[in-house]
């Protein structure tokens, strides 16, 4: 360290100048990192949604709000809205009733294989809606094991299918919080003479109530914007707002009524978001946190029984019925018994003569995989940028507030239904931003729509890991001589890489199964697998029905495989999902 005074002073001065230009570059880079995802969102999300709203209020380019009272005056509208609310409320209730024991067993008890069980429980959440819809149809529909109950096309089946997905959402959201809860208040209550039931109602439940409330609002949102399930299992009488928008657009070309219904859906979603924000603010109560896990005791038997019944009857039964159904031929003979055959799987490659679709199901699968890979890449790139920007903690209060808004804006697609998004893209992308380039004739809109749907999930998987980095780690790197770029490359990126596997899995699964937006954007020559399955399933008794079951098995197996692989890659740091 034989620095002469002059040498040091010169090098420090040079450093000072370099900082000036370095900082300018840094500001430019962070601005770009924030601007790219925002621009993508503005063009492919905000613009379509706004023009959809405009459609509801105009006739031939002139302001005309008469469509709104016209649609609101129809009794059909209100039966659809009522049906949406009933399905969402019942679906949420059942998900909570089954999800709380699951949260307890998966997150609060200690036993071998718990991690594996938790991993398996993510699968129902990511399974494509079309696959689950077809699976429930194969249980309750004609020829299914429970067909005799006559429940096909009833509200109960729709609610069961909604719970299929959302039990896991409740288990994850509530369980993550529950596993951190200090057990000593419960122990104190026990010592005061309260039995296990009383302890749960008087001590545990009030403590987990905020987590329960935020899970409930999330699940309500998912149920109220469910499209694939209701389209396949509901039929016309059980239409919700989503399927009604689709029906009005595709069958009746009544864009205006569809737009007004979209506005109704906005209002519904906004109301749920406002309520959930209220509840989340109340969640910030003081509970003492202390991670614990209990050994299994006899008193846990009821909870374990509920979880076992959920997994066996709600999750496994439809999957097994789907698999069995896909391996049976068309009902034949007087005894009604069908024979075992791989014909349905052969039909995936060689479509039968009466097939209602262009090309084979295998072609659709290839298209789906290509589109999903592209969509996941877009979502990962944008999501990585968003996570990097949103994980910064600037000193300036204005910038910090800006980052909060940024984070919120990226989550918007989560709140707007996929059907609205697909419909909006269809309306606007004939001349995007006034450029005479009709994007609707190309298939590029499909991966874009799927990326938008996957983006919030990717961000939620990446962000907690980056936010979890102790800011002093970056300080430590800086005082060791690492510039901002080197800090990013050596501290942030390695950790981002570790959770990238999980994020990629979620993105691929979400894109592969995406149905709501995609069904507006597919073209006869480029169909995705979920869209094809939904078309085939409507034809009971023909070869198409069996082909749909086989296609659903393939799609479900691929999605589940991707998710289980991604779970194995995930880092120790828990993502929010």
């Amino acid at each position: 360290m034989e620095h002469g005074d002059r040498l040091v002073s010169r090098s420090t001065r040079r450093a000072g100048r370099a900082v000036g230009t370095g900082r300018a570059w840094g500001i430019a880079a962070w601005t770009a990192a924030a601007a790219i995802p925002l621009a993508f969102l503005a063009v492919f999300f905000l613009l379509p949604v706004l023009s959809l709203i405009a459609t509801g209020f105009t006739t031939d380019g002139r302001f005309d709000a008469s469509g709104i009272p016209a649609v609101l005056g129809e009794p059909r509208t209100w039966s659809v809205v009522g049906q949406t609310l009933a399905q969402a409320a019942l679906g949420t209730l059942l998900s909570l009733v089954l999800g709380v024991p699951a949260a307890f067993v998966l997150y609060r008890l200690r036993y071998r294989g718990r991690a594996a069980l938790r991993g398996l429980m993510t699968v129902p959440f990511v399974l494509p809606t079309v696959v689950v819809g077809v699976a429930f149809e194969s249980v309750f529909g004609e020829g299914g094991p429970l067909a005799a109950l006559g429940l096909d096309r009833t509200l109960l089946v729709v609610v069961l299918a909604l719970a299929f997905f959302n039990v896991t959402v409740v288990a994850r959201t509530v369980g993550g919080f529950w596993s951190q809860l200090d057990p000593r208040p419960e122990q104190a209550a026990r010592m005061l003479g309260a039995g296990p039931g009383r302890v749960f109602w008087t001590v545990t439940l009030p403590q987990i109530a905020p987590a329960l409330a935020s899970a409930a609002s999330l699940v309500f949102l998912f149920c109220a914007t469910s499209f694939g399930i209701v389209l396949i299992l509901g039929g016309r009488s059980l239409s919700n707002v989503e399927t009604e928008i689709y029906r009005l657009t595709v069958q009746f070309l009544d864009l205006r009524s569809a737009a007004v219904l979209s506005l109704l859906q906005f209002a519904l979603v906004a109301a749920v978001l406002v309520v959930s924000a209220r509840l989340r603010r109340r969640r910030e109560q003081t509970v003492s946190l202390r991670p614990t896990a209990e050994r299994i005791r006899r008193a846990h038997a009821p909870a374990i029984a509920v979880v076992a019944a959920t997994v066996l009857l709600l999750h496994l039964l439809p999957m097994i019925a789907l698999l069995v159904g896909s391996l049976r031929g068309r009902t034949a003979g007087a005894d009604g018994a069908a024979e075992w055959t791989l014909q349905n799987y052969t039909n995936l490659f060689v479509p039968p003569a009466d097939s209602p679709i262009d090309g084979s199901v295998a072609d659709a699968l290839a298209t789906s995989l290509g589109i999903a890979a592209l969509a996941a890449t877009i979502a990962l790139l944008l999501g990585g940028l968003v996570a990097l920007v949103a994980s910064r903690r600037p000193r300036s209060r204005v910038l910090a507030r800006g980052i909060e808004w940024f984070d919120g804006a990226i989550m918007l697609p989560l709140g707007v239904s996929a059907v609205t998004l697909g419909f909006g893209l269809l309306l606007t992308m004939n001349r995007p931003l006034g450029i005479g380039l009709d994007l609707r004739t190309s298939t590029v809109l499909i991966p874009i729509a799927q990326a938008l749907v996957a983006l919030p999930i990717v961000v939620r998987a990446l962000l907690p890991v980056l936010r979890g980095i102790d800011p002093r780690q970056r300080d430590a790197a800086a005082v060791l001589g690492a510039g901002p770029l080197r800090v990013l490359g050596t501290i942030d990126l390695p950790l981002l890489g570790r959770s990238a596997g999980l994020a990629a899995g979620f993105a691929l699964a979400a894109s592969l199964g995406e149905f709501g937006a995609t069904s507006f954007l597919v073209r006869p020559d480029t169909q995705t697998l979920p869209v094809v399955i939904a078309q085939l399933i409507g034809r009971q008794g023909s070869d198409s029905y069996g082909t749909a079951l086989a296609g659903a098995v393939v799609l479900g197996a691929i999605t589940a495989g991707i998710m289980l692989l991604a779970e194995r890659w995930r880092s120790d740091t828990a993502a929010e999902w």
Binding site: D5, S9, V19, G22, R472, A476, L480, G481, R498
Partner: protein, 236 residues
């Protein structure tokens, strides 16, 4: 060239000079007392000074300000007569050792120690030699390939010290480096630390709340209270 100053301290052309530095945390009221409130301090080259004070007196914040991690609201910090305002932490050539080490969990022991050398773009063979040398120095020879997570508390702090010393900082800042350890280990590591700083001829500021530790390691003890530096006293 030494210019005179109102506080009576001479601005040395060698070593560190902190002149009435004030640090306010963002979000605090302007009327609230700042974390560091007009603190002045001078440290000569090759000197080891201790900043001693109760927790919350602003000593760690002052240390972070010297490192460039907290901006000054008022006052200035200079090294060898050059004002450091606007010089980013990574360009100051200072080292900072954290209370809890802040080792990089995703890197091996060797890669942690090599981190500052990589930032200096030192060629790989030289880097390996330097890392081995430092691990030897802190009493953990051959630990290059071990994982950070399998180190004990004392070993972690030794590696953190090796990592801070590796790029040969012109000033080493030590933020309560031993207070996370148990008493026996603390006494032993304090001796080692004093010897290492002496042997490497490192200029250092040690922040601590333990008078014994300050005496054992530093040649001079400076007391801090309520964000201000109090009168100095000489150690034996």
């Amino acid at each position: 060239m030494a210019e005179s100053d109102v506080t009576g301290l001479a601005i040395s052309t060698r070593g560190l000079f902190v002149d009435r530095a004030t640090v306010r945390y963002p979000g605090t009221e302007a009327s609230a007392r700042p974390a560091v409130d007009g603190a002045s301090l001078a440290v000569e080259e090759r000197e080891v000074a201790a900043l001693l004070g109760p927790s919350g007196c602003g000593k760690s914040t002052l240390l972070r300000a010297i490192a460039g991690l907290e901006p000054l609201a008022e006052g200035r910090i200079a090294w060898a007569g050059d004002d450091l305002a606007g010089v980013a932490p990574h360009r100051r050539g200072f080292g900072l050792m954290f209370q809890d080490g802040q080792l990089f969990g995703h890197r091996t022991v060797g890669a942690n120690v090599a981190y500052g050398l990589e930032a200096q773009r030192m060629p790989k063979p030289e880097r390996a030699v330097r890392v081995a040398e430092l691990l030897e120095l802190v009493g953990l020879p051959g630990a290059e390939r071990r994982r950070v997570t399998e180190l004990s508390g004392g070993e972690r702090q030794r590696i953190a010290l090796a990592r801070s010393l590796a790029p040969r900082p012109r000033l080493l800042l030590l933020d309560e480096p031993l207070s996370a350890l148990d008493r026996e280990l603390r006494t032993r590591l304090a001796e080692d630390l004093a010897r290492l700083l002496r042997e490497t001829g490192t200029t250092a500021i040690l922040v601590t709340h333990d008078p014994e530790e300050a005496e054992a390691i530093a040649g001079r003890v400076v007391r801090m209270r309520d964000g201000r530096v109090l009168a100095e006293e000489s150690a034996a």
